[in-house]
Every structure is written in C-alpha cells, then in structure tokens.
C-alpha cells in the first residue's frame, strides 16, 4: 500500500509538471482582448466589389473543365480543361484551386483571373496534407499539416506570391491540429486545436493575437465585408468582446431554425474533405449580418437555408418561415448570399438568383447541356438590376406542396417540416392539400402522421364540404381510387365538436365498408359519440353484430368495445338489450363480453351493483 506521504509527493510532482507546461504554452495570450483589438485595427476594410463572377466546375461529356461566368453580362468568359477538386478561391487578379484532392498527391493551381491560364502549380510534398488556402491582396496563404518529422504532425502557414506561387514566408504553427485559413484586409485567421483562432499579419507572418472560444468549438473562420467571424453551431463576430468567446458575448449570434436544418454556418475547416465540392455545399445555412457597434444581427432578421433543391428564408429570431423556393429540376450544387441576392447554381446548369426578402426570382441563366459539379462565387453585393419588380414571389403553398410531393426520398425531415408549415397556413386550400397528401400512396408513415396531426389541429369548420367529399370518395379499384384517410378524417371531425355532426352519416357509412380498418372503426365510434350522432345507431349495430363473433377481433377487441360503448352512450333501452344479449352470447369475442358485463353493470339502472356474468361470459 502506498503511503500518504508518497502520494502527496506524486501529486506535487504532477503539479510541477503542469506549471512547467503552462509556462511554455503557446496559447498564453489566448483570449487577450487588447491583442485582438490591436490586430483588427491593422486590418483594412475590403475594397468595393467590381466583379460578379461565378466559377463553374463542369463535368459531363465535355470532360472536366473550369469556366468563369460573368453574371452581369450573362456570358461565359473562359473555359479551361482541368479537374478541379478543392474549392476555387478568388483574389484580386488570380484564382486558386486544387486538383487531385487535398492529400499528398494533390496540387494547388494558380490561374489568371482574366483568361483562366495556369500561372503556377505547387504540388504537395509527400507526407503533407493541405487543409485550405485563401487569397488576400497579392498573396496566397496555405495551411498545411506535415507528418514528415517523427512524432505528432506539425502545422504551418505559408505565404506565396499570388502571381508566381513563390513562397514569401512560412510560419510554424504551435499545433498540428490545424484548419483552413480566412483573410480580411491583411489579417489572417487560422483555427487551431478546435478552440483557438490565431491571427497573423498577412505581410510579415507575425502573430498578432489569439482568440479563445470557451463554449463552442471554433471550426470555421470566415471573412466578410462586415467583419471576420468564427464559430461552429453559432457565429462570433471577431472583436474585443469575443477575444474570449462565450454564447453570452455580445458578438455571438445563432438563428432559431427548425429541426430539419443542419446547423452548418460554414465549412468545418478542420476537415480537408470539406474543401472539396461536396454535399456540404448543398445543405447549409446562408447568412449575412449587419453590425451595430459590437453587436451583429442577421441582415433583415433573416437566415437562409439551402437544402439541396430547396431554399428557405426564416426569421432568425422566431424561426418562422418567410418563404420557400424549390429548384424545379435538380439540386443546387452551390449557393451564396451576396448581401442583396441569394445566388445558386444547379447541377443541370441553371444559374439563379432570389430576392432575400421575398424569394422572388431575380436572375436566371442556363448553361445548356452542362453538368455542374460545383461552383464558387465572386459576386459580393451582386443584385440583378430591375428584375425584382418583374418577378413574382414564390407561392408558399405551391412550394411546400412540391416539397411534400417530391418523390426524392432523401429528405424525410424536410418533408415533415413542409407538412407542418403547410398545416400552419390558413385557408381551405390548405385543408384540401392536407387531405390530398393523406391519400397519396407511398407517403412515409411519419409524414402521414404529421399530415394527420395538422389536419386535426386545424379544426377547419369552413372545410366541412371538403371532408364530406373525401369521406364519400370510397375506395374503388376500378376507378384507381384509394380509400380515404378515414381514421384521420374521423379525428378531424371529432375535433370540430358539435359542428362535425353533419359529417356523422358519412363517417358511419364507413363502418359498413370492408376497407375500414378496426382502428378507423374505433375512431369513428368515438367521434360519433363525441358529436352525439344518434342517427348513426343502425350503422353501429350493424358493425357490432357483423364482427362481434369474428375471430380476428379476439386478440384486439378495441374496435368492438368502442362501438359497444357508442351504442351504450347514444342508444336507448333497445340497444342496452342488444348489448346484454351480446354479453351473454357465448360466440361474442371474449374481450367484448368482459367489457360489456362491466359496462352494463356500471351504467344500468342499478349502476354500481355488479352484474353477475353468466358462466360463458366468465369463461
């Protein structure tokens, strides 16, 4: 057994080691607000944009190519044959992209922005892994992880001349756990070890400050005209107050969004595969902010969601849906919020633009016969002139219905959301659409359930005629007409209370139809009681007599019990007599007989006095 003295000595030893580690920590100045403020003061605001370009990574029969497309002129400027893998980044006169991936076999290519001609290439070294690159002014900045030396991988930040690719300087990073950089006005930001963001001078490579994110991982840094941002599940505007970032910082911002939205505010820059054009480009949040002092707010109070073929605008504060737009034919492979328009490019070559406020189409161009694999925009501030007045905002119901009806099975959560949103919209038309959805074949069970819930919750007394029509449209194989969603319609009728009584005969008619499930029959019976539909007694009696001895109800007599209860509550002495007969008749399903014995005893003229069951009922 170790003595207490030895234990204390061991603890003291660890303490000493800890102090030594702290003394040499490369992150000693992490969270220093003065350092951050000083670094930001050195950054100059970006120049006003002069271009509106989109760089299209093309595939298909024309082979792998890169095209520059001028949005303002609606024309292709140039096309170069090349297999672009990692994302195109654009500087003042040069663009950079990767080929052959981000690994050791990858190559970074610098091209002339005017012509697309190759200016330089830099092959990754063996045991090097490219995490990302950014252009700022006349420089290109790379973050690379190297496993060349023994031990843990190391990280380094490289500065190259954007026109020649010649290295200007490089800086060994204090950790090998690195992420892709961002740059704004001469200031570089590099995330490290998930919780730090190191700031560097772009000219000299001098480290200027260290940000510490204490509550959320800092998986991205992003430069925008309105500021430099970092974050993961939310975003922090980089400023003095977010040098040590918490969710309570004034500079912290996150949007309230529905469950189907993946909270991806920007690429996870620690994952080099996200530097390639991939599904992450098709499923993320688009956002811009306005800054008031040290407080950012989502521009116009909106956050946008790109979900493959669909775009949504949400009130960032309440999560309320403002508009929805569906690209008609194929996925949007890339998108951007320019501040004045939501631009996107679809896989089949459509270039589109939407009004951020209304969702109306602002821009439309087509690259016929092209297959687009990915795209990068250099179109800050681009807003198509005059198009807003001519276009019409998308119809919410049409957009939501098209999402629900979409045969694509990739978006179950999105469909649930669309059904829920549809149900929240006012009007008879919505009730009609919900009924229509409920009659569609192949609807996922959860979607069916959600549509039913929304229909019931509407309590739409103004659509009684629609429900009547739906109930009367019985299943017909010859007419290729499926059975109406009787169980849900019954619940919807029940939710209307006495107003639903007018539909009781149409509901009761389903008790005599073969396609009415036991569950639906039980629901119908409950609703007939709820609306006091005494005129339905004959149908209830029919059902009970037809199935009371049916072996299929032996295991689960719920429907029989519900119908018997309805007869007991709605009927008179004659129905009591019928129920008494059924309670004593030995062929009646056991569960029903047991229930009847109890129920008749509880509700009879001598309620409370237990009716002695007959021998067969006891059995």
């Amino acid at each position: 057994m170790r003595s207490p003295g030895r234990l204390l000595a061991a603890v003291a030893g660890f303490g000493a080691l800890g102090f030594a580690a702290c003394a040499t920590s490369p992150f000693q100045r992490a969270g220093n607000a003065d350092d951050i403020a000083g670094a930001l003061a050195r950054s100059h605001p970006p120049a006003a944009p002069t271009r509106s370009l989109v760089f299209l990574v093309l595939g298909g029969t024309g082979g792998p190519r890169l095209s520059a497309y001028d949005l303002a002129a609606s024309k292709v400027l140039w096309t170069q044959p090349t297999d672009v893998t990692t994302r195109v980044e654009v500087g003042a006169t040069v663009l950079v992209h990767g080929t052959k991936g981000a690994g050791p076999s990858g190559t970074i290519v610098g091209r002339d922005l005017e012509t697309g001609a190759v200016l330089w290439q830099r092959a990754m070294q063996p045991k090097e892994r490219l995490f990302g690159y950014v252009l700022d002014g006349d420089g290109v900045f790379l973050v690379v992880q190297s496993s060349a030396a023994a031990g843990r991988p190391t990280g380094a930040l490289f500065s190259l001349d954007a026109r020649t690719g010649v290295e200007r300087w490089h800086h060994e990073l204090p950790s090998g756990r690195v992420a892709a950089p961002a740059a704004r006005g001469g200031l570089l930001a590099v995330p490290l070890d998930s919780q730090y963001v190191l700031l560097f001078d772009g000219q000299s490579g001098l480290e200027l400050g260290q940000v510490l994110s204490t509550e959320e991982a800092a998986t991205f840094v992003r430069a925008l005209p309105e500021g430099l941002f970092y974050g993961s599940r939310g975003l922090f505007l980089l400023e003095r107050g977010t040098a040590r970032g918490t969710r309570h910082s004034p500079g912290y911002l996150s949007a309230r969004l529905p469950d189907f939205v993946r909270p991806v505010y920007w690429y996870d820059l620690y994952r080099p595969e996200q530097a390639e054009y991939s599904a992450i480009d098709r499923n993320r949040i688009l956002w811009r902010v306005t800054v008031d002092g040290d407080r950012p707010q989502f521009r116009d109070g909106l956050a946008f969601v790109h979900d493959y073929r669909f775009f949504f605008a949400f009130d960032a504060g309440s999560g309320a849906l403002r508009w929805a737009y569906g690209a008609p034919n194929s996925d949007a492979v890339a998108s951007v919020d320019t501040g004045h328009a939501i631009l996107f490019v679809t896989a089949d070559g459509e270039i589109g633009g939407l009004d951020p406020i209304t969702g109306a189409r602002l821009y439309e161009a087509h690259l016929s016969g092209e297959m687009v694999r990915g795209a990068s925009f250099d179109a800050e501030g681009f807003a198509p002139v005059g198009a807003a007045a001519a276009s019409k905002p998308p119809d919410m119901l049409t957009a939501l219905t098209s999402i629900i009806a979409d045969p694509d099975q990739r978006f179950p959560a999105l469909k649930l959301f669309a059904i829920e949103e549809l149900g929240r919209q006012p009007g008879r038309e919505v009730t009609a659409k919900l009924i229509d959805i409920l009659q569609r074949e192949g609807l996922a069970p959860l979607a069916y359930q959600k549509a039913g819930e929304m229909l019931v919750a509407r309590r739409d007394a103004g659509s009684l005629d629609l429900m009547t029509a739906a109930l009367r449209a019985h299943a017909d194989y010859a007419e290729k007409r499926p059975a109406p969603p009787v169980e849900v319609l019954a619940r919807a009728v029940g939710a209307l209370g006495p107003l639903g009584r007018a539909l009781a005969p149409d509901l009761a008619a389903h008790l005599r139809l073969p396609e009415t499930s036991p569950a639906a029959a039980a629901e119908i019976a409950r609703v007939l009681v709820a609306v006091g539909a005494q005129e339905s007694l004959p149908a209830l009696r029919d059902f009970l007599c037809l199935y009371r001895a049916d072996s299929s109800y032996e295991r689960d007599p719920t429907a029989l019990v519900a119908v018997a209860e309805a007869l007991l509550k709605l009927g008179g002495p004659t129905d009591r007599a019928l129920l008494l007969f059924l309670a004593e008749e030995p062929h009646t399903a056991t569960g029903l007989r047991t229930h009847l014995v109890r129920a008749l005893g509880e509700t009879g003229p001598h309620a409370g006095v237990t009716i002695q069951p007959t021998a067969s009922a006891r059995d």
């Binding site: 009696r541 007599c545 001895a549």
Partner: protein, 304 residues
C-alpha cells in the same frame, strides 16, 4: 348499395326485446314466403317462363333442431345444419339462416349460412325478402374477402333491383375474387350499364372480368377490347373476345373479324378461344366464322 334505412340488427333487437333471443326466438311454425307454392318436390313454369321450385316445408321438429344446431356452440354442427337447411328445398329454411347472420357469427359459420342461402336462392326460395337482401348486403361489405365473395354471389342470384348498386360497388373491390364474383353476377343479370366499369377493370388487366364483360359487351366495345392487345396480357384479351364470339346475338361477319383478331394474339389462351369457338358451333352449322376459326387454328398449328 345505397341503403339509408338498413338496420339488420333490428331483427336481432326485435328478437331480444320479445324475449326470444336466439335460438329460442325461432317460431316452431314454418312460414313460407308469399307466393311460394307448398307443393312438395314439384316445379312449374311461371308467367315469365322462369322456373320456380315449389317449397316443401321442413317438419317443425327438424327445423327447430337445425336452428338450435346453427346457433349452438359447435361450429362443425352449425355448418352441417346450415348445409342441411340450404339443401332442404324449404322456404322456411331461410329464416334461421338470416337470423344467424343478422346476429353475427364466426367466419366459418357465416360463410356456411351464406352458402345455404345461395342454395335456397338457386331453388328460387328466397324471393325478394328485404331482410335477406339487407343481411347479404351487409356481408358484402365484410372485411374478409371470402365472405364478401360468397355474399355477392348469392346477391347476384336474387331477382331484386336493390342488389344492383352493391354489385356495381363491389366491382371496385380490392379483392380480385370479389370483383370477379360481382362481374359474373352483373353479367348474369344482363346489367349492360356495368360494361364500362368492367372495361376499366379489363384495361387494368383484371382477368376475372374478361368473360363476364364479353357476355354483355355491346359491339362498339369490341374494337376497344381488341386494342388492349399488347397493353395487357394477350390471354385476357383472347378470353374476352373468345367469349364474345360464342354469343348467339353476334352477327357472323363480326365474329369473323373478332376471330381474326384472336388469331393474331399470342399464347395458349388464344388457341383455346379458337378451339372453344369451333366446338361451340353445332356440327351441322356451316357458318363462315367456323371455317375462319378452323383456318386460323390450322395456321397456328403450322406455325408451331
């Protein structure tokens, strides 16, 4: 069937309220439906040429014992009782069968009772009794397809226009056997108005309606049936056309055209249709269509 006033268990209610709950509710006195002749074992033609079986009464004791067995604990005995009642040739056999159905029974017992009613109907002993029609109508909407099929078959034999809406409705049943039974019943009743609905089913490849449709199809429907070749199984088209040419009311010139269409269809069903047609024509009948059918058969044989 549209039956706003239907209330089958009213029979049960009446029995219950009168203190004559099954099986004690049975009247020991045999009652035959109005119009039924009580001359045992004899048949005679009525004014419309329809043959009516005269109903022989079952002895009261025998009827009572069958009624008891029908409502008793033993399913096997109940089924035997139902069978006996159906085969009794007695109009009084109807009531216990209807009672057991109205009060509800196990599936096997219900099917036996329906079958027994069918036997009585074949012997023209059901008449147009409203309760019987209503009970059968109720069972035509039973969840079990086999029960529905049997009920439809019996309903089809009852010469009562009230059964037609149900038969038409069951043409759209989800179960093919039920659709086929409804189609056969409607065709047997020469319900021409059912042909459009049957054609819709044929178009969807429903083999069960092919022969019934052919038996009531008007000439204008035949080209449309022929045009289905290639869109549905050729055998179904051949069956429909093959049945059509056997009809006595079809002009022989049209038969020849239809037979040629059958000759162009592939498969054994087309050959069968031609063979059956040739066989259906009396030996001494030398109509051109018979020669055409034989020629087509010879060609098919040569092509093998």
């Amino acid at each position: 069937m549209k039956r706003p006033g239907l209330n089958v268990p009213s029979l049960v209610l009446a029995l219950v309220l009168s203190g004559r709950a099954l099986p004690a509710a049975v009247s020991p006195t045999e009652t035959a439906p109005a119009g039924a002749t009580k001359t045992k074992g004899k048949t005679k033609g009525n004014a419309k040429g329809r043959t009516t079986t005269t109903a022989a009464p079952l002895p009261a004791a025998r009827l009572e014992s069958l009624r008891l067995a029908l409502a008793g604990d033993d399913d096997g005995a109940a089924i035997d009782a139902a069978t006996a009642l159906g085969a009794s040739g007695s109009a009084g056999a109807r009531e216990p069968l209807v009672e057991v159905l109205a009060a509800g029974a196990t599936s096997a017992r219900a099917q036996a009772a329906i079958e027994a009613l069918g036997k009585l109907s074949e012997a023209h002993l059901l008449g147009k009794d409203q309760t019987t029609v209503e009970v059968l109508d109720l069972y035509a909407g039973h969840r079990a397809p086999e029960v529905r099929r049997r009920a439809i078959r019996v309903l089809g034999t009852i010469a009562d226009a009230r059964t037609v809406p149900t038969l038409m409705e069951r043409l759209g049943d989800a179960a093919p056997d039920v659709r086929a039974a409804a189609a056969e019943a409607l065709a047997a009743r020469r319900e021409i108005k059912a042909s459009r609905r049957m054609f819709a089913l044929l178009k969807a490849g429903d083999a069960g309606v092919a022969a019934p449709l052919a038996s009531i199809a008007t000439p204008d429907l035949i080209p449309q049936i022929a045009e289905l070749a290639g869109t549905i199984d050729d055998g179904i088209v051949a069956t429909a056309l093959g049945e059509y040419v056997k009809r006595a009311d079809v002009p022989d010139g049209l038969r020849v055209d239809v037979l040629r269409t059958i000759g162009r269809l592939s498969g054994a069903a087309a050959t069968t249709a031609l063979v059956e047609y040739v066989a259906s024509v009396p030996a001494k009948d030398d109509r051109p269509s018979k020669h055409e059918a034989q020629k087509l058969l010879d060609q098919r044989g040569a092509d093998q």
